[in-house]
Symmetry: C2
Subunit: 577 residues, 2 copies
């Protein structure tokens, strides 16, 4: 009990230090923002016009991005509406814990209407799915979710918008593998977690029946996780804990049939993490008896078998299973695909926005979270305009003053410049120039300029599809919306290289606060900023503290912590409900 | 907050006083038992024979009766197996609270395997449904519950038994009303409660959509409860509290559309309670705006309307609704019906057992709880054998000694005698005789004897289909099984009037500890033994205390109490999960 006491004490301390914790560790505020594009600078002029009527802002989705936007929106100059098939926000990082009953599903959700009614302005919520966006008419088509037989089928309606915030997330990516939709579990929604839980208990109960053959019992008790990313790894670890801590006691006669396999197509699991973490996780799983199979690509799932292709040998293997979880990444939703076709993004795989989160190719639509990626402009594409803008007297060369005037704007407009310099350990722009020039010449011509910057675009990276990114984007966009009028008058963004004046807002900039990979048995690995690696029990406490502080309300915080306490006292429940 | 504190304090006190509370209020042990029948006294001889092999006892069902039997079974001389489609026990009296999220479903369930592994003897559990009982071959046919597509359909198997404990409960009685199965909710399982909850939220969300017509909105927000028994009344009250305490804040624009109607075919609601309670409940519901319609019989349920026949006027009325809960009593399950046909009970509506809970017409089968009723023998049917047994010297009359020798046996064998005497306020049997005889004649002939007893059978009543009865029956039967060998040698039951010697066990005797009817708003009515009526806040505390102490394990106790605390602090959750 001492351990638990310590945990509780720490959590309490984390509560008390909440303001500090949230500043340090939580998806916290980004420093600024920047919204006016240089391509279509007039898109949002109307906000500042003050024609008396409030602009109608429609938010699609109640995940991390949408809710983070809603929570941070403070300005009362908008008429806000939300459309989502889920009338609650779910704290998805704890979904793997819900699968095993460590945390109760209800503890990690917060009704949207609860969040909405705390806003000083009215927020309309519609529980419905948007199935079509019409960016020309500025209209969305919605359908109520299926709700049993007494409500008379689906209800359809349309809504106008002035501004649309697309934050619908993504669907699971099956890579069109046959049988996945029909037979595999996903882990994106609360219902998924509850179904997985029920499925595991079903397998245990089924394997306990007297008429089951030895072969079938072995098959049923084989649980397969496809995908060695953080979600897959965490789920495999949670399942292992559930099986060994709780189920083994209740099903002593079949506990030795249990087998957990993790299939990963790549060379190793957790490939976005530092290799030390990957090694630690692989070794821990080996000790735990979780079978990690890398280089194994799933090509088909049938009702009782998974077929894989071993990448090294080309062999096809058929694996009998009882339950399979599919966790291999995300894909674009059909409604977004259709929207992309309409706005000329039909040849892309993911919806593209500019650095201010505005959807390219239409007006008044923003996209954030998993449903979009930022199409970061390359420095080399703009190098000529940047140079000519800096070269005020059209001399064909920049002197030091010209150069210093644009340096900050470049580094703000193109984040890859900063990343490149950090990587090369260059402290100032001067040093970058020097490394290109080879001498101390004070005048810089276009070729030297190009030389200095020609490698920076290699540092461009898509942001990961994580809750952290979505939440920061929502917060960023809300802060832009809050300061719309003010920044109209006093722009705070970088210089417009292709136009005149400055961008209204700073572009979105992601701050990485680290990533956790819980490995089971109160062991967690974390990769924190500055390449700080942390593994073990203490990281598990950090994980508890961070996740507690990140939870959306005091209600969910207390519920989750009391769930943890309940679990530590009574174990996890194994009832089939 | 003071109120809550007091509640918590009291609950804690109830915890500390647990041993006392459970003795006073809880479904507690009945004083004795009696198992050997006079009709087929050899049915259980084999238990005492001690042939080395343990008798295989199969329990069907994991409700109140089955679990109470299991929990109280202490003897290790049986090989115990349980077959049930639910691998958990659910504390059903709190189901209405689950419908509204006052208590979490998981808090009121206890895995059977958790209960089973605490027994000193091994207990086998199979998650399956028994679909056929073969009392001749002493075999049951089972089918696993449907468990998704990867487990390959239903698994079928058979099991032998030496003793079968039928405790499968009952199904909801629709009285063959068309449309009930398809459109109405029942409230018997945890899943039912969760579905009702989701359905209520669905109605609120649907009614909030912009495209819904005024008429439809009114319809959708009309919730109907059919049946004015304790369950229906409690659910209506819980729904009212949920709507007014929590949902009204979150759905301000539609809250005034809400209407709750309680339909009862009889003259008044709660008709098994004292008329003071009925009156109080009716008045409270009137104040709360719950529409109570008595004398209204449902004749049809369609997807959007309920048709009723008004008993007084004969009129047919069609009522539009959004959600309907059907709570009008219970009916026999098909598997029991089939079993009854096999054992010559085909013309009965409910499975009959004798006073020792043995199923009439077959060997080695017991039935308890909602799936059976006790077929209490009438005194007048046996009056001749009783008299001749008492008349030891065949004189045709009984003297006072003869009479005194049989008096206790009669009153133990025929509980209606005692009830009759209590009702007539007769303290001794002598007084009963006097009232029949009209004088003090010391010799009693058969006519006087008949006269004295001819009215007692009118006091025979079927036991109510409650958790209390089922739990007491389970406990009674377990205590018989525990003392099987001992009571074989030293029988403790009454004299066998038709045979020789005494019955091995006392017959089952129900002790009524009172009944609660929660009326919402922390108001509860209770009818306690001795016609003690209690209504109001204090009864609510009593309700909390009793229900807490009744819960099956410390785990569920803590979970339920912490759910109550959570609810009192944060309100109920309205997420659609």
């Amino acid at each position: 009990m001492r351990g638990y006491y310590t945990f509780f004490e720490r959590t309490l301390r984390a509560f008390n230090d909440h303001s500090t914790v949230s500043k340090l560790l939580v998806i916290s505020s980004v420093s600024g923002g920047g919204l006016l594009a240089f391509s279509d600078a007039n898109a949002f002029q109307s906000y500042a016009e003050g024609d008396g009527k409030k602009k109608k802002v429609v938010i699609l989705g109640t995940g991390w991005a949408g809710v983070s936007f809603l929570k941070n929106l403070k300005s009362s100059s908008y008429d806000v509406h939300i459309v989502s098939p889920r009338n609650y926000f779910a704290f998805t990082p704890l979904l793997p814990s819900v699968t095993n009953g460590t945390v109760e599903g209800r503890s990690i959700v917060e009704p949207i209407r609860n969040i909405a009614r705390k806003k000083p302005f009215g927020v309309g919520f519609k529980e419905a799915e948007c199935y079509k966006i019409d960016p020309v008419q500025k209209k969305i088509y919605c359908r109520s979710t299926d709700q049993g037989n007494t409500l008379g089928g689906n209800e359809e309606f349309t809504m106008d918008y002035d501004v649309l915030i697309v934050a619908m997330g993504a669907k699971s990516n099956t890579f069109n593998t046959p049988g996945v939709e029909e037979h595999a579990h996903f882990l994106k929604e609360i219902e998924d977690a509850q179904n997985i839980r029920r499925s595991i208990i079903d397998c245990y109960e089924r394997a306990s029946l007297p008429s089951i053959s030895e072969e079938d019992r072995r098959r049923i008790m084989h649980f397969v996780v496809v995908g060695g990313g953080p979600s897959g790894v965490e789920y495999a670890a949670e399942l292992h804990d559930f099986a060994h801590d709780d189920l083994a006691k209740l099903y002593p006669s079949i506990k030795d049939y249990l087998r957990i396999t993790l299939l990963e197509a790549g060379d190793h699991i957790l490939n976005m993490f530092d290799s030390r973490i990957t090694k630690f996780a692989t070794e821990k799983f080996e000790r735990d008896g979780i079978d990690v199979k890398t280089g194994s690509m799933v090509i088909k799932v049938s009702d009782k078998h998974i077929s894989t292709k071993e990448i090294k040998t080309g062999q096809t293997v058929s694996i009998p299973y009882g339950m399979v979880l599919w966790s291999t990444g995300i894909a674009t939703r059909p409604v977004i695909m259709d929207f992309m076709k309409q706005i000329g993004q039909g040849n892309r795989r993911v919806l593209a926005t500019d650095e201010w989160l505005r959807v390219e190719g239409c007006h008044g639509v923003y996209a954030l979270g998993d449903c979009a990626t930022i199409n970061q402009r390359k420095v080399m594409e703009d190098i000529a305009v940047i140079f000519s803008k800096a070269d005020k007297n059209n001399s064909g060369t920049l002197d030091l003053k010209d150069f210093k005037d644009v340096v900050d704007h470049i580094s703000e407009r193109y984040p890859q410049v900063q990343i490149y310099m950090e990587k090369k350990k260059l402290k100032t722009f001067d040093a970058l120039l020097k490394s290109a020039q080879g001498n101390d010449n004070k005048l810089i011509d276009i070729e030297t300029f190009k030389n200095a910057l020609h490698e920076v675009d290699s540092q461009m990276k898509n942001l990961p599809a994580t809750a952290q990114v979505a939440a920061q984007q929502g917060e960023y966009l809300a802060s832009c919306f809050n300061r719309m009028e003010q920044c109209e008058k006093y722009p705070e963004g970088p210089m417009r290289f292709r136009g005149t004046g400055c961008h209204r807002f700073r572009p979105f900039r992601y701050k990485h606060f680290g990533q956790f990979a819980p490995l089971g048995g109160e062991q967690t690995a974390a990769q924190l900023p500055g390449d700080w690696i942390s593994v073990g029990y203490s990281t598990q406490w950090l994980w508890y503290a961070v996740y507690t502080s990140k939870l959306v309300s005091w209600r969910t915080r207390v519920l989750v912590v009391s769930d943890w306490l309940r679990r530590s006292i009574f174990g996890r429940d194994s009832s089939r409900i």
